[in-house]
């Protein structure tokens, strides 16, 4: 990687009068394979290098990106961008950054089996093995879509304050969408598994077995599922649903740039306001964190894309709103220090506040104990449809594999139980967390242009009391 180009970019911007400058040079090597209905649709590999830089001139933030790694081109672009940004200072918001400790650090995620050493055939054989395991069940599967990708990002970050961070992070991801049929009825399962690391992570997932089990259970749901109960019930949700709740109704609204209105045009704002810090919104059993440093997790990193050291953030601690997700700019505005939440999905995107690995902390009960204490309720194991409004207030989660709980026992499958509920009511209803724990990977979207970033969400199974299911 031509690190000197990044160094040059920062020096040049500073020479032009920028009060701050940073550059992020990235090289990404990737492969991808798609298996559709048993046929290898396409395979590919790619190498991409590029430079993304931010600078502040006349208190206005500018961003430049290019994959043309040539000094003259970079100079030309910086000049062009400085002109645009200086002109924009007419109505600048006055971008200021909180102090951050400068440092020099290198880190990399180890690959026990290097991705570049694994042949395309071996990668495809994983997809083939999954396909064979699905078909051997003889369950009617009108469509099967499997997509496997891996990429390794080498990053070099430098800023005008003396910070230099080098990192190498490999990732693997397998996405699938399966359609299960029973007579005229169908149900779908859409999910993904992802981790940082080498090819060895795919063995840990045990996907051929896991996906086979998923469609067996989904078919049972389809065949034998009955209507969900009406009226007030209790709900036990698995880590998959706990995770999406954590992500959508806590992680996102706690992004400080939303609270300050910077993302209102598309990603939206937040129901949370700064005067709600310290407010109790849930029972003591509810603690929610965002933690980039979880080893092996899909959203892993040790230094964010502003060069700030990452750490665990307690968003909600024992039911109390405790901390927001900050970058240096929001930290400055709100009188805090950055907690290392700035991420960019690729070199050609600016770093904005993102989640990493967002999850409820486990509690003291087994999942069985949560269920045992339910007279009438639903156990939601997986979901397909979900959404939330752009202030993160009005949630909807629809169960895919789900069961009736009667007198403390799982009774029979139920079809698509749905909860449509406000965030305050949702959190107030959580009365217990189990001690199991899972993290599930996802691709989170935010920003304009859109950035899809690898994250995880999860936690333990949770119990919610006195919920009315929705249509």
């Amino acid at each position: 990687m031509s690190e000197d180009l990044a160094d040059f970019a920062v020096q040049y911007a500073s020479k032009l009068g920028c009060s701050y400058a940073e550059a992020r040079l990235e090289k990404t090597d990737s492969t991808a394979f798609v298996l559709k209905n048993g046929i290898l649709e396409a395979s590919g590999f790619e190498e991409e290098s590029g430079l993304g830089m931010r600078f502040i001139i006349k208190n206005t933030l500018g961003f430049v990106d290019t994959n043309l790694l040539d000094k003259n081109k970079i100079k030309f672009l910086i000049n062009k961008s400085v002109r645009l940004t200086s002109t924009s200072s007419k109505i600048t918001e006055n971008t200021l950054l909180a102090e951050a400790r400068a440092g020099k650090k290198s880190y990399f995620v180890k690959e026990k089996i290097k991705l570049c050493d694994v042949s395309p055939e071996e990668k495809i054989s994983l997809l083939k093995e999954i396909e064979e395991n699905l078909l051997v069940t003889k369950i009617k599967l009108p469509s099967r879509y499997l997509s496997l990708g891996d990429w390794k990002i080498k990053k070099y970050y430098i800023n005008s304050e003396g910070t230099k961070i080098k990192s190498e992070i490999p990732r693997v991801n397998l996405f699938y969408l399966l359609t299960v049929a029973n007579g005229q009825k169908t149900a779908q399962r859409m999910w993904q598994y992802g981790s940082v690391g080498g090819w060895e992570v795919t063995k840990k997932w045990k996907l051929p077995y896991l996906l086979k089990q998923e469609i067996v259970d989904l078919e049972k749901n389809l065949k034998f599922g009955k209507k969900p109960p009406k009226g007030i019930i209790d709900l036990v949700v698995s880590p998959q649903i706990a995770g999406i709740i954590a992500h959508e109704s806590c992680g996102h609204p706690f992004e400080a740039d939303r609270i300050l209105g910077r993302e209102a045009a598309q990603a939206g704002e937040s129901y949370l306001t700064t005067d709600m810090m310290g407010k109790k919104v849930a029972q003591t059993c509810v603690t929610l964190v965002d933690d980039p440093t979880v080893s092996g997790a899909y959203g892993f990193y040790l230094y964010d894309d502003e060069g700030v050291k990452a750490r665990r953030k307690f968003l909600v601690k024992n039911g109390i709103i405790t901390e927001l997700l900050h970058n240096r700019q929001t930290a400055k505005v709100l009188g805090a220090i950055s907690n290392g939440s700035a991420r960019a999905s690729e070199f050609d995107k600016e770093a904005i506040i993102r989640m990493s690995n967002t999850f409820f902390l486990p509690g003291d009960y087994s999942e069985e104990e949560l269920i045992r204490d339910v007279k009438l309720g639903v156990y939601m194991k997986s979901f397909m449809e979900w959404n939330i409004d752009d202030r993160r207030f009005n949630n909807r989660y629809v169960g895919s594999e789900a069961y009736l709980i009667k007198n403390g026992k799982i009774a029979y499958p139920v079809i698509n139980p749905a909860i449509e509920i406000t965030t305050p009511a949702l959190y107030a209803a959580i009365d217990a967390a189990a001690k199991n724990f899972e993290l599930h990977s996802a691709t989170c979207g935010k920003g304009e242009p859109m950035q899809g970033i690898p994250v995880t969400h999860g936690g333990p199974s949770l119990r919610l009391r006195k919920i009315r299911l929705s249509k």
Binding site: V34, K36, N37, L40, E41, A42, S43, G44, F45, E48, S49, G50, T60, G62, F63, V64, D65, T66, N67, L68, N72, K73, L77, S81, L84, T87, S88, S89, K90, I91, E93, P120, E121, I124, P142, S143, R144, Y145, L177, T179, T186, Q188, G261, R262, A264, A265, Q266, D348, E385, D390, N394, N395, V398, E420, A429, E448, P449, L469, S470, K471
Partner: protein, 462 residues
């Protein structure tokens, strides 16, 4: 640019020497700028310059996609000297070796049937390139943003957020089957969300290929008006309603409808149009077109990704599904003709057009005794793509309609529907029309206001 095209041919020829049956080499040179504003201030500018060369390689029905990256030499206006060009060409040899090695033990795609055979001639699509956009000054860009912000504020908004973006692209294509094309295009996109307070807002966009068609002031005024009109929304009761969808709202749903006509989506189980060719999938008032040759169309381009001149495709005629979208290979598989919709892997639409109806927007409202007006939706998610069950959340101004008039702003509802049910319940289409692209409208949609009967709107239980 001759050198760049020469390089694309060189890559193609290298691969043909390795017994490739089909090669497509595409090049895109793009320059773009962005100004992002929030809370009435400019919060960031963006300046971007990229060159991408994509390669589609097939040998013995084994398909590989990759890119060539040693392109920095083409970034300036000065042509490369012969020595520098030869260095780059030598680097393509390394790529060729890598491609051949990668493809060696892949499984052939047994239902692959090749790419289009040229040569073709291409008609220029009007109003897709504007020198004024390509050379728009920094001052003018900032002035556009300021004028948009002020227009929304004068209509009653308190805060504005959005972006102003311009782009200039040069596109190149060469294939192993006698195709060569070059084209250029520009675009300008203005998006503004105007807020009165946290619960009252309006959103609008102007997406155009030429500066003369870009209308920032009226776009912003509309957003500001909706924000003001939506002040103090009240919680609404759920139920089944007749709903007037504004263009921004229906565009999100029509985007998915257009995508669902791709044969790739049908095969992958993510289309509610599977097994429905020549069936009635929508109300008779619905005529849906995909037209990549539309003058000024935000997605207009020719040729498609394998060099076939793009065309106008009637997707739905009087409610009946006419065609899926195909490339050459999928068309041969299904014994039909290409719709010039490549996507070499996944064919797709370019500009999705809901043909306008005969009635004015006001008369459309007049049909509604008691209903809801939805100006925007967000976060559309499916329970089952193959069946079409989904929900989406109204965002920005939403209003109760009584006796054809907007009665009051409301909040707290969610659309819970089925795509086919929705299409079949389109009872009237207005004669206004707007081109929309947005976060959730990645394929441009041109649509009027639409009235849909019997839409289920739900609310949170607590």
């Amino acid at each position: 640019m001759e050198q760049f095209v020469d390089l694309l041919h060189h890559i193609k020829n290298n691969l043909l020497k390795e017994k490739a049956s089909d090669v497509v080499v595409s090049g895109v040179i793009s320059d773009s700028s962005q100004i992002k504003f929030a809370n009435n201030k400019i919060v960031k500018t963006g300046t971007e310059s990229l060159i991408n060369v994509g390669i589609f390689f097939v040998r013995d029905k084994k398909i590989v996609l990759t890119n060539f990256k040693e392109l920095a030499g083409f970034s300036g206006d000065t042509p490369l000297d012969i020595a520098a060009l030869n260095v780059i060409k030598k680097q393509t040899n390394n790529l060729t070796k890598k491609l051949v090695k990668f493809s060696k033990n892949l499984e052939p795609k047994k239902d692959y049937y090749g790419i289009a055979k040229g040569p073709f001639t291409y008609k220029k699509i009007p109003e897709t390139f504007d020198n004024k956009i390509a050379n728009l000054s920094e001052e003018k860009k900032v002035d556009f943003v300021i004028s948009g912000i002020n227009a929304a504020l004068t209509e009653g908004a308190k805060r504005t957020n959005g972006i102003f973006q311009t782009a200039y692209n040069k596109n190149f294509l060469v294939t192993s089957h006698n195709v060569e094309s070059q084209s250029k295009g520009t675009s300008a996109y203005f998006s503004i969300r105007a807020l009165l307070d946290k619960e009252s807002s309006g959103h609008n966009t102007s997406s155009e290929r030429t500066l003369k068609n870009l209308d920032i002031e009226n776009t912003a005024k509309f957003a500001g008006r909706i924000a003001k009109l939506s002040k103090n929304p009240v919680k609404a009761e759920e139920g089944i309603f007749d709903v007037v969808f504004a263009p921004m709202a229906i565009a999100v749903l029509l985007n998915r409808v257009g995508e669902a006509t791709s044969i790739f989506d049908v095969e992958a189980g993510i289309s509610f149009f599977a097994n429905k060719l020549k069936s009635k999938v929508a109300n008779s008032s619905v005529n849906l077109i995909d037209d990549a040759t539309l003058a000024g169309g935000f997605g207009s381009i020719t040729p498609d990704a394998e060099g076939v001149p793009t065309q106008r495709n009637v997707l739905i005629k009087k409610g009946i599904l006419q065609t899926y979208l195909h490339n050459t290979s999928t068309a041969k598989k299904y014994k039909t003709k290409t719709t010039a919709s490549a996507g070499l892997i996944s064919p797709g639409p370019y500009n999705i057009i809901l043909e306008k109806g005969n009635i004015s927007k006001d008369n459309l409202f007049a049909f509604v005794k008691r209903g809801v007006y939805i100006t925007n939706v967000w976060y559309t998610r499916f329970q089952n793509y193959a069946v079409g069950d989904f929900s989406t959340i109204p965002r920005d101004g939403m209003f109760l309609i009584e006796n054809g008039k907007i009665k009051k702003p409301i909040k707290n509802l969610r659309v819970k529907e089925n795509m086919l049910h929705l299409l079949q319940n389109i009872s009237a289409v207005a004669n206004d029309t707007k081109q929309i692209t947005s976060w959730e409208v990645s394929i441009p949609v041109i649509t009027p206001h639409v009235l849909v009967k019997n839409v289920l709107l739900t609310k949170p239980v607590a």
